[in-house]
């Protein structure tokens, strides 16, 4: 029991160090553990597979750098899939800080797939107004969107002219880190215009999306980095999601050990107290 007593007063920096190593080492020396595909992620993949070439996917970057780590990999994986299937991407965002991130992902991948801005994809950037805005958007995009991300008139862009109302959108893919986000797309855009909604959310939000998935208001869901990793497996693209998964595994195991150990220590201390004579 000596060790336990020592552990009880363990300096937290040692714990920090262990966590750090548990993240770094698997990244340098990948284990390549197999990633299982969960139903919600499969649904998103199948949905996009089912779309006909040239149909338009609306991607909404409803997150900011705070959750970039979780949602940027998903952003890339989805864009990759869309471009491969020659789908057009109409990108917007409900969070001011998200557009810059979406722009970066579009740029890099468009170059890889030789897509042209304006005809294959556009980015109209951040649109304030949350739920209220979504309603007028679905009715008529012109009411809300007149210029694109860089201030170019939307009508000067082929894709911009193509999209007039919710009818022209075959799928909404929201990358959501909070409010406004997936809830508003479901409760307003889907409810009013019936456009199918897929979502990638932070792991924190994922649990609360399950009711909507059961009721079919939400087609599919990528939950956190794991969701992105699953999607990368599906589109066979080793991105940050998969790179991170090994670290994810190791850290989780470590944390579980911590919790168990911590409680063993607790029990040990309790026994000490109750033991006759002992302090």
């Amino acid at each position: 029991m000596k060790i336990l007593d020592k552990l009880a007063v363990l300096d937290r920096r040692i714990i920090y160090l262990l966590v750090g190593l548990a993240v770094i080492i698997p990244m340098l020396i990948p284990l390549g553990l197999p990633v299982d595909i969960t139903r919600p992620v499969q649904n998103v993949y199948d949905k996009i597979e089912s779309l006909t070439e040239g149909s338009i996917v609306l991607m909404s970057t409803d997150y900011d750098p705070g959750s970039e780590a979780e949602l940027y990999p998903a952003t890339e994986a989805i864009i990759e899939h869309c471009f491969r299937r020659n789908l057009k991407i109409y990108m917007m965002g409900l969070w001011p800080a998200g557009s810059a991130l979406g722009e970066r992902a579009l740029d890099t991948l468009a170059r890889v797939h030789g897509k042209r801005y304006g005809s294959d994809y556009v980015n109209v950037g951040y649109r304030p107004g949350g739920a209220v805005m979504l309603l007028s958007l679905g009715r008529n995009f012109r009411d809300v969107i007149r210029v694109d991300y860089t201030g170019r008139p939307i009508d000067s862009l082929e894709l911009g002219r193509q999209v007039r109302s919710a009818r022209d959108i075959t799928l909404v893919m929201t990358l959501s880190a909070g409010d406004p986000g997936v809830i508003h797309w479901v409760q307003y855009f889907h409810a009013r215009f019936g456009t199918p909604i897929c979502a990638a959310t932070t792991a924190i939000m994922a649990p609360r999306q399950y009711p909507y998935m059961n009721s079919g208001q939400l087609v599919g869901l990528l939950g956190g980095l794991k969701g992105a990793a699953e999607y990368e497996t599906l589109v066979k693209r080793r991105g940050r999601g998969l790179t991170g998964m090994d670290s994810q595994s190791i850290v989780h195991v470590l944390l579980v050990l911590f919790i168990i150990l911590g409680n063993v220590i607790l029990i040990n201390q309790k026994r000490k107290k109750s033991a006759p004579g002992a302090g």
Partner: protein, 360 residues
């Protein structure tokens, strides 16, 4: 030629009617959904004899069109037009139909207004009930019965008490609830003459906290005890605030920490630092994401609504007690509705289920 037209007409039968529950600015045209319908144009006319004008396109798989451009009180006629290999085709002509104004959205009144009315009535009734001096009892709330002991303990150890009223401003109901708990905590600490720190994340929250504590000090008959410098505004920045509060915990080593109000990511940091300083921790929030950490790391946690109940329980203020009672009746109502709904579905009746559709 004519008989082909006749066939088509019988093939697609459209209906037009005044859109219900709107301000009389639109007419709705519907037709049986059919997946192999082509892209169609919707045509409108005031006088079929004079021919139709195109007013819009109908996307594939649609079976509904709303003509929002219809002028109120005019008689309109509608039909659909499309072309296929055999040439131009038309649906039947629907109409005359005129857009009428409705002053009330009866759909919303029925399934939302009704519920609002019931809840309001119940809550107001019990508030008046409580105000009229009738006794309203509330079950004891475990976290609260611990409050006095926790403060007492701090007093014995001669250490301060820390009260964190969440990181949202005073437009957040949880912050308000936290404040009325603060009132009680301040009163007790004033009685015992124990130091009480209240760091806030917003300027307005600070002013409010100062008011509350000052008044409690007077109520406890210890106005001298009140020290304005113990109720400080630190910073609006979430993590800046948390690390500052951590600083207080590590420097002044409070023996009792209260985390009551609305919390985000910082809940964990606070609870852990507090735990490491060996303080008794009483937490409470309605942010369901953060409750797990509080439950796991604190000695007592007020779960969700218990936070609001607690402030009523402590203040014994009729308004709060009354509205709490009202809410309880609301819950009772919900349980009844759920059970009834499940039974009706078991029996295969759908009217009740459909009653709860928010969308028309």
């Amino acid at each position: 030629m004519f008989w082909i037209g006749f066939l088509i007409i019988s093939a697609l039968n459209i209906e037009a009617f005044d859109t219900p529950n709107d301000d009389g600015s639109s007419i709705t045209i519907t037709w049986p959904a059919d997946t192999n319908l082509p892209v169609m144009e919707i045509m409108r006319s005031l006088d079929p004899g004079r021919g139709f004008e195109k007013i819009g396109d109908v996307a594939l798989r649609d079976s509904l069109f709303q003509d929002a451009a219809a002028a109120r009180g005019k008689d309109y006629f509608y039909r659909l037009r499309w072309t296929d290999p055999e040439g131009e085709k038309f649906s039947n002509v629907a109409g005359p139909v005129r857009a009428r104004i409705q002053l009330l959205n009866f759909f919303r009144l029925r399934n939302i207004g009704l519920l609002i009315a019931i809840l309001f009535a119940v809550i107001i009734f019990y508030i008046r009930h409580a105000r009229s001096g009738k006794k309203v009892t509330i079950r004891r709330i475990p976290g609260l019965t611990a409050v006095d002991d926790a403060i007492g303990r701090a007093t014995e150890m001669g250490k301060p008490v820390l009260f964190v009223p969440g990181i949202m401003d005073i437009d957040e109901p949880q912050t308000i609830a936290a404040m009325s708990i603060l009132a009680r905590v301040a009163e007790k600490t004033a009685e015992y003459g124990t130091t009480l720190f209240v760091p806030t994340c917003h300027a307005m929250a600070m002013t409010m906290a100062q008011q509350v504590v000052k008044e409690s000090a007077i109520r406890a008959g210890r106005p001298d005890w009140y020290n304005i410098d113990n109720i400080r505004y630190l910073t609006d920045d979430q993590f800046g605030y948390v690390s500052a509060v951590d600083g207080i915990m590590l420097r002044d080593r409070p023996a009792t920490n209260f985390y009551l109000g609305s919390f985000y990511a910082e809940s964990l940091i606070l609870a852990e630092t507090g735990h490491s300083t060996g303080a008794i921790q009483i937490a409470g929030t309605a942010m369901s994401d953060q409750l797990p950490f509080f439950v796991a790391a604190c000695d007592y946690t007020l779960l969700g609504e218990e936070l609001y109940a607690a402030s009523a329980y402590l203040s014994q203020e009729p308004v709060q007690l009354g509205s709490l009672k009202g809410q309880d009746l609301g819950k009772f109502l919900f349980i009844a509705i759920i059970i009834f709904g499940v039974i009706t579905r078991l029996l295969g009746w759908n009217f009740f289920y459909n009653l709860f559709s928010v969308q028309q």
